[in-house]
Symmetry: C2
Subunit: 373 residues, 2 copies
């Protein structure tokens, strides 16, 4: 490197060092806001504040000759960090009448996540697992909130087994990724308030800010609404649904998709594809798709077996999809390029304006991914 | 909002405004580096510089109580912006002996991208398209570099049609996403230097920094090596391959994957799935997968028809995959959860350590995506 290079690079390093200091200052200010929010019971994620903050800086960027997209991306990344950090301050308790909380299956990963969140909000939380069954009666009879967080195929049996111990006034909630059967069981067996919940995220998230949770109202809104308020305070985005609609959506989003991902991964193995080569030759898109496949196989097979095998509708969609593939492959057998283009165009029309949005979204995603290559 | 909130938010806004100013300063410095690089013929993307810059700031961040991952992500985003900006300064011309450049199909999107890049590096570039065929003889007889950038199913015919006009000393290159047949045609028909190229990215990229290009050497390394050097200067990452190996990889990465994405999209249409609902209920992972499907249908059907129908091996892999799905669905028919878990575990073992890497990669990706929700 010649001298003028070194000098400029030193100046860039100096700017970047200032950035580090600026982040430290921002972090301290955000921590103060977090304490105020905790005291005032304000949600950690306030969409209007996020929007107005970004807009103001975008305009300043334009005026300063800086890309508005750049400043927006940087601010969003910084805010994600802030949301995670705000967990440290704890949260106000929105539903003190639900104390104490008992999570059946609290030692599971999702159970641990919610135990942590409830504790941060000042609730007393106990876990009921296989190793402390002798406490079942004592814990459940005193509980204000009982959460069933066990695998789908055990949900029904666990509820039936423990129901005789439930405090009849307690709010009964389940976290299962199906809703019809658990809701029917809970409403049938428990006289008190009932709520179905499906956290649409994995237990490894750092913050609940912007995370989606689907809820299916059972009975006793006066009791479950404060709990939903608690989730909103944690930053979650709540979607109301009927159990049937939820399960229909999950047949597509989970059962069908996870099965095809499973089948694709096991197919790569069957053909003994050299993953290293594939990885080396990958376009950014394929790398991303491969990441989604590898991700599945890095997780618990039982979880995916539960999701796929528990949905009758999902199994039927999978069969229909394979039938559809067999029909589509006829296009290849007949070398029917015109037919392919015709089908492609029809589906493209059916996607409507959403496809352009999805194209933009995926392009932005691929660009972000390319930063890390 | 109470007063202490407003005051803190003003202070945060002040910090963010300083960030905008800092970015403006950094941009000016990067522009100076860009000019020096242009003059010295240094590649715009220097992995070692990027690595050492990030490491130094990570350590400073740790010392200042700031998350090292945060500063790394911000720097990577800023550097992506810099790479795009460096296009503005132009690039040194690495292969003046290849002038002038003729791109057959230069009006196509990929042709336009490379026309722009060659112009930025001081080459004279002409396009030969359907509307200026009368110039074919004149342009091609004088060309130092002839690039064939037309759809796969036209590549062979176009080369054969134009070959009689080629300057016999010119370097002949094709951009097709298959390599075996075009390489055979080019080597058979053209006595001069030959190189096969497959840009593994779409024509909408802002910069070639970190983008992958596969090349298959034909003949005349002395002529094509300076062209590869030019691509390296643009920041591209080059992978050498034989035509057969490349085509085998693309059968998996492109033909099979694009076909299953096509079939999945047309299946959603067949079941008349309400995309709005699906979108609303989506977990971040499914949203990402849906984005990849919508992305396909927002693009040119002919392009995908070409990729899928031109690969005999790809067509066979697709048939094998459907056969595999039919075998896998037997697990569902028999409610064979143990069999599913056994197959899952085998594939998981086969993925080996790569799966953990892919899990981390996808988790980071999903977190970045959640910022934009």
């Amino acid at each position: 490197m010649t001298d003028p290079f070194s000098k400029l690079r030193q100046q860039i390093d100096q700017v970047d060092t200032e950035l580090v200091q600026l982040l430290a200052r921002r972090k301290a200010l955000v921590a103060e806001v977090g304490e105020l929010k905790q005291a005032a019971g304000v949600p950690i994620y306030v969409p209007t504040r996020e929007h107005s903050l970004i807009q103001a800086r975008r305009e300043e960027a334009l005026a300063a000759g800086v890309s508005p997209e750049l400043i927006e991306d940087l601010l969003r990344r910084m805010m994600r960090e802030s949301y995670s950090a705000e967990n440290e301050h704890g949260f106000q308790c929105c539903a003190p009448e639900l104390e104490s909380v008992v999570i059946v299956g609290g030692r599971g990963q999702m159970g641990q996540l919610f135990t942590r969140m409830f504790c941060l909000s000042g609730y007393q939380v106990a876990s009921l697992d296989l190793d402390n069954q002798e406490q079942a009666k004592e814990l459940l009879a005193e509980a204000g909130l009982i959460i069933i967080s066990v695998p789908i195929n055990q949900t029904d049996a666990v509820i039936r087994k423990q129901a005789r111990h439930f405090n009849p006034q307690a709010l009964l909630v389940d976290f299962t990724s199906r809703k019809s059967e658990p809701m029917a069981t809970m409403l049938g067996i428990h006289p008190g308030p009932v709520l179905g919940l499906h956290p649409m995220f994995g237990p490894d998230v750092c913050t609940l800010a912007k995370q989606v949770m689907v809820f299916t109202p059972g009975r006793g809104e006066a009791k479950f609404e404060p709990l939903l308020q608690q989730f909103r305070l944690w930053g979650a985005s709540l979607i109301e649904s009927s159990p049937a609609k939820h399960d229909h959506m999950m047949a597509i989003i989970q059962a069908l998709r996870h099965f095809t991902t499973f089948a694709y991964g096991s197919y790569l193995q069957r053909e003994n594809i050299q993953l290293e080569d594939v990885s080396r030759f990958s376009s950014p898109i394929y790398r991303l798709e491969l990441a989604m496949v590898g991700r599945l196989f890095a997780q618990d097979p039982q979880l995916y077996a539960d999701i796929i095998f528990s949905s009758t509708e999902g199994k039927q969609l999978i069969r229909n999809y394979i039938e559809h593939l067999q029909e589509a492959v006829v296009l290849l057998d007949n070398n029917d390029i015109d037919g392919f283009i015709q089908q492609f165009t029809q589906t493209s029309d059916w996607f409507g304006q959403l496809k352009e949005k999805l194209l933009d979204e995926s392009t932005a995603l691929l660009e972000r991914q390319s930063e890390h290559q």
